[in-house]
Amino acid sequence: MNPQRDSSLVEILDRLLNKGAIINADLIITVAGIPLIGLNLRAALASMETMLEYGIMEDWDKSSRELYASQETHLPLIPGEQVLYKAFGYIWQDEGIVKSWVPGIWNVTNERLILWVKTPGKAIFETPLPSLRIFRVPASHETRQELELVYPEGRARISLSERDEFEAALARATTETTAISV
């Protein structure tokens, strides 16, 4: 990363927000001396911290934070299960009308491979590790790397930008699982 440079524009805007600004404007647009359009503006712009100091938007601040907290979901794990590796990726879905790559977080645990979608909080794909096999397949997209999964119930095409790390994590997790079961 580059060293932080001092930007005077950012500094000015930051100070403006910290202080807060109130705009009060009345405007009438006239043509040939006849007022046609009226504009009555009351606006306040400030950083949230300043707003709260003045007691503005307190309820909204609270409720929006609560809303996010209530929507946040966590991956349901079996007792004794641990997430060993996480990476952003996709799975190819061709059931139904729309065929598309569905994004989510690939979780490699010591038991399973799961594609987790945070909102609304569901596992799109999951399979136990021991019977899972993966193959490299040529990618259909220039910046993506694709893999084919073969598991007892069928096959799946998935895609990740860090394929090597994903494969290594899967290999580590699988050896760990077999070591425990032995």
């Binding site: 930007s7 950012v10 911290e49």
Partner: protein, 106 residues
Amino acid sequence: MAINLDEKNLKNGLLGLVVALVEIIQELLERQALRRIEGGSLSDAEVERLGQSLCELAESLEKIKKDNDIEDAVLSVRDGLDEAADELLEKFINPETWLDDREKEH
């Protein structure tokens, strides 16, 4: 203030302008985030989440700049904007310079 867009490479010039603006907003958000954290009303989980998201934003901006090779374009736009901000500030601090400017024009 002049923002120089390379005619041959309008796409990069435009992208540089957009990224520069996003970068300014991102830096502003970082400062405000720090202020909110120091305010002490956020829970530990919220602080963690906020930091994580801003880090991801900064990283992806760096990646966009590197991938499209627009680091210089972004830097020149930002320098231009900073210069304009400095001039504006200078005028607000020393209103008498407005008079000088007017006299020069006449």
